[in-house]
Subunit: 121 residues, 2 copies
DNA sequence: CCAATATCTCAACATTAATTGAGGCGTGGA
DNA sequence: TCCACGCCTCAATTAATGTTGAGATATTGG
């Protein structure tokens, strides 16, 4: 991942509505969810505002859209999130792995839990 | 981590100079580096601009400073980065661990390399 | 104490981003 | 075909953010 992409991604994530959308989509899984459902989940977000932020996220590479009938379904772009994390933490150790392994275990606690009950620290 | 903190952190990371500073500090390790060295590493960044961005990062919780003689030494706050990653990816799987495990291995490739030669994908 | 170095603070200006409301386009059912 | 629904686009307004330059503060050595 290049710096420009990372800046776009972090810029996209630095806005309340967009951060909520991304986290919603991350939790929604690869299936994604329609724009209307996103708006409903967020509460009070006008159609145009939602649309603005969704297209912003799509342009930043963090979300993608597909049409399903008259609905437009958005989903998270997981590889972009992985790349972003890697970009941020690149060269993080310099001989001190203990400083960044917490990040790994934090992430692992979400995906590797066997019960489906994720760690919310 | 709460949403407000995450927004501040992402906002801090969404600016070119600040993103470079954070990555520099991440790579610098827990020792950190003095403000002057950061400015030099970045090239063309005026004193006041650098100071503005450093204090912005500190306020966002991503960097901390300590005085060492007449130098002020900045370092990355690794736990904040871990929390941020976890906050973003929370509930990421929903039965599809394969979508987020790449993020884990991306991060692991940095910290677990035995040679000290990190993965630059 | 004085000078030099390193860094911070402040205020004005320039730039960029977010919200709102009106209106348009594509889709599916009557 | 026509209407209703879901969502997008555009332009204007308002708000937030970054840059610059001048000056202030803290530390060390002479």
């Amino acid at each position: 991942m290049e710096e420009k992409q990372a800046l776009d991604a972090f810029g996209a994530l630095s806005q309340e509505t967009r951060l909520r959308i991304v986290r919603l989509l991350v939790a929604a899984g690869p299936e994604g969810m329609p724009a209307g459902a996103i708006g409903e989940a967020l509460g009070g977000a006008s159609s145009s505002r939602l649309s603005f932020h969704l297209s912003h996220l799509e342009h930043a590479g963090l979300a993608r859209s597909r049409r399903g009938g008259r609905l437009i379904i958005y989903s998270a772009v997981y590889p972009a999130l992985s790349s972003l994390i890697q970009f941020l933490m690149r060269d993080c150790c310099q001989g001190h792995p203990e400083v960044c392994t917490p990040a790994i275990s934090a992430l692992s606690s979400c995906c590797l839990s066997t019960t489906g009950e994720n760690a919310h620290a």
